[in-house]
Symmetry: C2
Subunit: 340 residues, 2 copies
């Protein structure tokens, strides 16, 4: 039952820990009947359903729950609405697609008044407007538990980019920088007033911006061999991509585009962890991780609106390996801990 | 912002009570940007998006939450999975469509083990298998609150049947019988061992069967002028249909297909309410409520696999009125109470 697409969640605690989460999902998927209709994608960011005329309909869904993915004490309800939709748009971008429609399931806590619900919806609306997405339906109930926002987004593409096309020799790329959203979370969880010069990290955590134009352009290029979005960090997500593609990978610590804000946040909270560790494990960057043939480097850089960084290459074999700055290499496990 | 489709919930407590729920939903919808793409349906059971080639893609979503829509102490986790999907299939049927794909968002309570999750998924799988629906994706998290199942279903039709096509003079029909699911809920909430001869009521509540073939056949017939599914009871849902169609209605108490089990359940729990009241207000029958020209009666009965009952007629004006057995007439309000 490989046709299932389960978008993995950052910070969403799973029934059993990653990689057990993926194992459980595979088991749940195994319970479902075999597909009767033409559906593509294997454990990907979104499902892709072939439509007459050669297009694919993309479908992805995410559940965002208070106390699991966010805290209401962070105070920005508008941003929650934004993020609930945007993280789904990232899944569509990761398939090389364009989002078109969304439906929103909302379980509102009993203590909320209408103004809170309006603010949340304004965040959803602003995100939809920015992305050109029509919110065409939903279901709103009063929750007996935490605020829960469940969003399903539809999109389309002529050429879905999956996680299983990476080939040995391909270069591995990442858009933008790493660790910004995770360092924003670290700052928020310090429960201290956050200085203005660290607000970009908080912004990245609370109101992420998916790589929509990059995903579409990379999808249309015909160059990219595999792609996914970084929702659980490179360490976990690159392992997922490699497992799907049945390949290994070698990435280079020195090449990683660690956001400069990570070190500043870590200093401020007096956390001694290496920023590289945050960059590799930090969730919700919503950058794109993709692979392409080595000789496509120039073309890729022209295609993307945002800087991209080559971080390593796809190898034969089963292992994802990181070469450190001192020249040593270690396996890059799910939930990687940087050697001190 | 009338292109929004919010499937109303039975027994799902709203932020403010029905009809305030509908008012709130209209306000939330008003916050959203105007649609940029071709999307049909106005406050309907599902959104309908026009695809190239004259087909419509249907989309509907429902959130089912423990403590709001069901209690885990009822003990049938398999049935919960079934119902979470089936109630969405009913929305597709109500549009005259055929369901094709589903995605499932699942927030599993912290105390659950894998076996519970498997049982829930088996219910989803059995429902999907029966309906020929492919479950193509999902998102599974561990909840910090109640079990929450959020299902989105896609479907298709060449001829979406909306709620706004009813015309004065049309006859009003209902498939099957009324009140069975509501009386099942009453039996369950009695917290007493339920006798075998009332188990059909419990079955209707916990494992409803949507009118899939009837919805499709009625949709394809070209006869039906409006349709919706009965999720909140005739009193509320007929008011919704009439408001959408800008018409009134007269229904006849004597014609209502009240399920014979309702009276038996009411006697068993020693509830003195009139079974008609349960039939009119009871949610989750998932029968189809539809309108068609008076002269189509014979044809309609040939089309439907299940008995249909004419219960009244569409009128000009704003009021939904019920004519009682004694010949008197009263307005049929949302949340109708039968005169003693």
């Amino acid at each position: 039952m490989d046709n299932l697409s389960y978008s993995e969640k950052s910070r969403g605690r799973s029934i059993i820990d990653i990689p057990g989460e993926d194992a459980l999902i595979a088991k749940l998927a195994g319970i479902l009947p075999a597909p009767r209709q033409t559906a593509l994608t294997i454990g990907d960011d979104a499902a892709a359903i072939e439509l007459p005329g050669g297009k694919f309909l993309l479908v992805t869904t995410d559940v965002l729950m208070e106390g699991v993915h966010f805290r209401l004490c962070w105070g920005d309800i508008f941003a929650l609405g934004w993020k609930a939709l945007e993280q789904n748009l990232s899944d569509i971008a990761a398939m090389g697609g364009v989002p078109t429609h969304a439906v929103v399931g909302l379980a509102v806590p009993p203590g909320w008044d209408q103004e809170n619900a309006f603010e949340l919806y304004q965040g959803i609306a602003e995100c939809a407007r920015t992305a050109g997405v029509d919110v065409v339906g939903g279901d709103t109930i009063t929750s007996v538990g935490p605020l829960t926002i469940s969003v399903t987004v539809l999109g389309e593409t002529k050429n879905p980019i999956t996680r299983y096309g990476a080939r040995p020799g391909d270069a591995i790329y990442i858009t933008g920088t790493l660790g910004r959203a995770a360092s924003g979370l670290i700052a928020l969880e310090s429960n201290r007033p956050i200085p203005l010069d660290l607000s970009a990290a908080v912004e990245a955590q609370m109101r992420p911006i998916a790589r929509m134009s990059e995903g579409k352009a990379l999808g249309e290029s015909g160059i990219v061999t595999s792609m996914m979005d970084l929702s659980d960090g490179v360490a976990t997500d690159l392992n997922r991509l490699c497992r799907r593609s049945r390949v290994g990978a070698l990435i280079h610590e020195a090449m990683l585009p660690v956001d400069e804000i990570v070190e500043r946040v870590m200093n401020w909270v007096e956390d001694s962890r290496n920023p590289v560790e945050i960059a590799l494990n930090g969730g919700e960057d919503f950058e794109l991780l993709f692979t392409a043939p080595e000789d496509a480097d120039d073309e890729l850089r022209q295609i993307c609106d945002t800087p991209i960084t080559k971080v390593g290459e796809i190898t034969t074999g089963d292992w994802v390996v990181i070469q450190h700055i001192d020249g040593s290499s270690t396996p890059l496990h799910w939930g990687f801990t940087h050697p001190i």
